[in-house]
């Protein structure tokens, strides 16, 4: 520990936050326990998952596999469950969009309009998340149910094609939007908070129109937050299966997460399929993240 203190407090210099100090074995010592944990319980399991995705079943013995390089697992899993994959991306995309639409005014109001209410608003955003998210999702199921207030009003006004909210994609997207909203609000707020209000005022002087000011000044300055929020919402939403399970129907709204879960727990011999789907999902999302980060240069995420 004293070694840490020594180097940490060493000739830090005014060079700024990223000041790195002399080469030694100290960083490795600090790194060792955490990195070892992540190697053993994150990297090794992923490698194992990959090998499982290539295993083959012993014919006639469901649940018994042998080591193989059966890339056909990927082909059959992806063709069979393509609709679920598509739904995951679509629902997650829609939920991300709606979460953005709801979050931006909230984050904006917190950053520029709330004044001394800011702390209270922050608490209001985080607080609901201490009531278990399963409980809240089930509450939504009852609120959106056919005999519940929302569906009855919409039905009374003949605004609900099909007559139901629960058991449809609408409820699933609504649930995803609700559950991941704070992951959108907080990064947008963090980046708006750093914007100097005088810059926006200057924008207001330059452009007559408030909307132009917003579009050319405020929005671009909050982009890092928007991008971070998009990823933080899209990633968990794409892998989620609880919302589709509790709010959706058995047939037409299942997402890839539901398939992975049931292949693991309910289908004998489903491990390789589930592993192939998990691995594809992960590869897809990581590719997305890296393209995104490269394209928009939000390197601070890493």
């Amino acid at each position: 520990m004293s070694a840490l203190a020594h180097t940490a407090a060493g000739p830090a210099g005014p060079a700024g936050p990223d000041t790195a100090v002399r080469r030694s074995w100290v960083p490795y010592l600090l790194l060792l326990p955490g990195a070892l944990w992540l190697l053993v319980f994150f990297v090794v399991p992923l490698v194992q998952l990959f090998t499982v995705s290539l295993q083959s079943q012993f014919p006639g013995y469901p649940g018994y596999y042998y080591r193989d390089l059966n890339f056909g697992n990927y082909w059959s899993a992806l063709t069979e469950f393509a609709p679920h994959f598509g739904r995951s991306l679509l629902f997650a995309g829609l939920a991300t969009f709606f979460a953005f639409a709801l979050s931006y005014p909230l984050a904006y109001a917190m950053a520029f309009k709330a004044g001394r209410w800011r702390g209270l608003m922050m608490i209001c955003i985080i607080a609901p998340f201490f009531t278990s998210f399963i409980l809240r999702t089930i509450a939504w199921r009852q609120i959106l149910a056919d005999e519940g207030p929302v569906a009855s009003v919409l039905n009374f006004l003949h605004l609900l094609p099909g007559g139901h909210i629960t058991e449809t994609w609408m409820a699933v997207v609504a649930g995803l939007t609700y559950n991941f909203l704070p992951f959108m609000v907080l990064p947008i707020y963090a980046s708006l908070e750093r914007v100097d209000p005088r810059v926006i005022e200057a924008g207001g002087d330059l452009f007559a129109n408030g909307f132009t000011t917003f579009r050319t000044v405020t929005l671009p300055m909050s982009m890092p937050g928007v991008l971070a929020g998009t990823l933080l919402t899209f990633i968990p939403a794409a892998g989620d299966y609880v919302n589709a399970e509790l709010l959706g129907s058995d047939r037409s709204t299942k997402m890839v997460g539901n398939v992975i879960e049931s292949q693991f727990f309910k289908v004998p011999g489903g491990y390789p399929t589930a592993a192939a789907l998990s691995f594809t999902l992960m590869a897809l999302i990581l590719a997305l993240v890296f393209v995104y980060v490269r394209r928009f240069g939000t390197d601070e995420l890493l």
């Binding site: 520990m1 004293s2 840490l4 203190a5 180097t7 940490a8 407090a9 005014p14 700024g16 936050p17 990223d18 100090v21 100290v26 960083p27 600090l30 790194l31 326990p33 955490g34 990195a35 944990w37 992540l38 319980f41 994150f42 992923l46 194992q48 998952l49 499982v52 709801l102 909230l106 904006y108 109001a109 950053a111 520029f112 309009k113 709330a114 004044g115 608490i123 985080i126 607080a127 998340f129 201490f130 009531t131 278990s132 399963i134 409980l135 089930i138 509450a139 009852q142 609700y178 909203l181 100097d196 207001g204 990633i235 892998g239 299966y241 992975i260 592993a275 998990s278 999902l281 993240v289």
Partner: protein, 285 residues
């Protein structure tokens, strides 16, 4: 930063004032509506904790409701308090380990330049970008196909292990941000005043980073406490509070779960407000 909402020096034209007023109202009204929306299911959970239901706590029974009987006997439903205790135990252990390991990692990654630093950054970031279901699935395969050979069975400790993995990433990110924003001049000043390296660390660096560490620990605990997807994969027959609620959903959730869920909300809000009040009181004016 000047207080937002207060008008500063220049006087805008009528049209601009009207626009500004509308923009001001629009953002605030939208914000309040969104906040209300966030509270809708919490209010539902709260209301139905007073329901004198017969078979399942889905429809409101006007006879005998509201009732306080579930609040008087929060452990009345079989298994609900056991699962709560398990969740708290798991949350504490996972938070403790993740906070210690994550803080060490964060210091290494910010304060040193060494071969493998970018690999270290990557290794701590990727778990955050991995969907929970993939984390859960990979841990399940390794626990079942690998570590069961060394006697590790699915249950309490596999949940703890899994929670540490995802909490660790969040701790690293939170503490890293705090260490990066440290003013290096404070540490220099300490050294100019002849503080040794140990004293500089413990008297200056550590206290400055501490709020970040505390924040990271609180985040860890809430992530662990509310986790369902990963837990469901690696828990075997062990039951945490979210898993209890999920599993009992088909048979009907006992109102005791509503009582506990809402109480956690109240406790968390109280703690956060207390922390803010104490923080404000200690801040030099």
């Amino acid at each position: 930063m000047s207080a937002p909402g207060e008008h500063t020096t220049y006087v805008p034209s009528m049209g601009k004032r009207l626009q500004g007023w509308l923009a001001h109202r629009f953002a605030m009204i939208a914000a309040i509506l969104v906040l209300l929306y966030l509270f809708v299911p919490v209010a539902y959970t709260f209301a139905f904790s007073f329901n004198n239901y017969r078979k399942s706590n889905i429809t409101w029974n006007p006879e005998g409701s509201p009732t306080l009987k579930h609040w008087q006997n929060p452990c009345g439903a079989p298994g609900v308090c056991e699962s709560l205790v398990k969740s708290i135990q798991i949350g504490f252990i996972a938070t403790l380990v993740a906070t210690v390991l994550g803080t060490l990692l964060a210091f290494a990654l910010v304060r040193y330049k060494f071969i493998g630093r970018s690999a270290g950054n990557m290794l701590t970031f990727i778990p955050m970008a991995t969907p929970e279901i993939v984390l859960g699935a990979s841990l399940l395969t390794i626990f079942v196909q690998g570590f069961s050979n060394v006697g590790l069975r699915l249950g309490f400790w596999t949940i703890v292990i899994a929670h540490i993995v995802f909490c660790l990433s969040f701790v690293v990110v939170t503490v890293k941000a705090r260490v990066q924003s440290l003013d290096a001049r404070l540490e220099e000043a300490a050294q100019d005043l002849y503080a040794g390296p140990g004293a500089t660390f413990w008297k200056v660096t550590f206290p400055l980073v501490l709020p970040g560490i505390v924040g990271a620990a609180m985040l860890s605990f809430s992530l662990s406490f509310d986790d369902f997807i990963i837990t469901n994969f690696v828990s075997g027959s062990e039951t945490t509070f979210p898993k209890f609620v999920y599993v009992s959903y088909l048979r009907g959730i006992p109102a005791q779960a509503n009582v506990i869920g809402f109480s956690m909300f109240v406790i968390a809000v109280t703690l956060v407000i207390l922390a803010q009040v104490i923080g404000n009181a200690r801040k030099p004016k």
